[in-house]
């Protein structure tokens, strides 16, 4: 007489297949979520560096005259910043673009007020900003993202 029900071998085989199925599902979910996270971080990182580069190009193009723009050391900030002087409604103002605490920042100050890095707002998350002014020629700059990607830029002064 044939035994009814599953044998222990069938049971073990089924369980093994179930375990295999579960492991495959888990590994798929883990790798997919890891890939998504990595991809999302890279996109965000590149987006930040694009914003920074685009912002700097726009600011420089608007103000690229020898007498209006300078690269200076700023109190309380490690790296040099860009100082753009302008007159708005008869007031002399300074727009200062600098890198501080992981962000490219912009602050607008009256020319007779003291620079304070906290009185500024963040533009984009950046690891580093290298700026080098070439006398009467232009500004050479490099933006480095948190993930270490970098974009180089150069803007020539508008000839008088």
């Amino acid at each position: 007489m044939k035994r009814r029900g599953s044998s222990s071998t069938e049971f073990i085989l089924t369980m093994l297949l179930l375990i295999l199925f579960s492991l495959a599902t888990i590994s798929l979910v883990v790798s997919a979520s890891g890939a998504y996270r990595g991809s999302e971080e890279t996109i965000e990182d590149e987006s930040q560096i694009r914003v920074a580069q685009s912002y700097l190009y726009t600011k420089f193009r608007q103000n690229m005259e020898v007498n209006r723009i300078s690269v200076e050391s700023l109190p309380g900030v490690e790296e040099k910043g860009i100082v753009i002087t302008d007159t708005v409604l008869g007031e002399d103002i300074k727009t200062i673009i600098f890198h501080h605490e992981g962000y490219l920042r912009e602050g607008v100050f009256l020319s007779n007020t003291e620079f304070n890095p906290t009185s500024s707002y963040p533009i984009a998350s950046l690891e580093k900003l290298n700026i080098n002014m070439i006398e009467n020629k232009g500004i050479d700059f490099e933006t480095i993202s948190v993930e270490g990607k970098s974009f180089k830029g150069f803007i020539a002064f508008i000839p008088k």
């Binding site: 089924t14 495959a24 599902t25 798929l28 991809s39 590149e46 020629k137 830029g153 020539a156």
Partner: protein, 172 residues
């Protein structure tokens, strides 16, 4: 009678998954998984393409602006765009090679991206400067993911630049 027969048939069915059902499930999951991973691969590829385009644009801008400012000794031109006799040049004036990470390298063999400059003298002189047509083309040597196109043109820009032709400058 019919109902009791149906109930008996239902009760006789084996509970749980059969092997065939399990194999079909694993197969379906594998196909779905492959599509999901392919989706991420495509996403990464699109990201790479946009990053390449960004770099092509920024480096081309860099060149054009440094020509305007007559800065010949800065990266990426690094003094090598200081052409001895532009008027005698035809076709490609210069090539700059970049590796996969967009770092400038010396040799073409290891290059992933090639930036080519074409300069054409328009012979118009104003204020000691000659007017030139400048064309910059950036190509990628190897194909992108699931693409067969080698030496794909990523970016082309054409502009006019004034370059100093006075003695002692970058030109003869």
């Amino acid at each position: 009678m019919i109902i009791s027969n149906l109930l008996r048939i239902k009760n006789n069915r084996k509970k749980g998954f059969s092997l065939v059902e399990l194999i079909i499930s694993v197969g379906t999951l594998s196909v779905a998984g492959a599509f999901i991973l392919l989706f991420f691969a495509y996403s990464k590829d699109i990201n790479t393409r946009s990053f390449d385009l960004d770099n092509s644009v920024y480096y081309s801008n860099y060149i054009i602006e440094s020509i305007k400012a007559e800065i010949w000794d800065d990266e990426p031109t690094d003094n090598s765009l200081k052409i001895e006799s532009l008027s005698q040049q035809d076709g490609i004036v210069k090539e700059i090679y970049f590796n996969k990470d967009w770092e400038i390298i010396e040799t073409q063999e290891d290059a992933e991206y090639i930036m080519e400059f074409y300069l054409d003298n328009k012979d118009e002189i104003a204020m000691g400067k000659g007017l030139y047509d400048l064309r910059i083309t950036v190509t990628k040597k190897n194909p992108y993911f699931r693409s067969m196109t080698v030496n794909r043109t990523l970016y082309t820009v054409e502009t006019k630049v004034f370059i100093s032709t006075e003695e002692g400058d970058s030109l003869d």
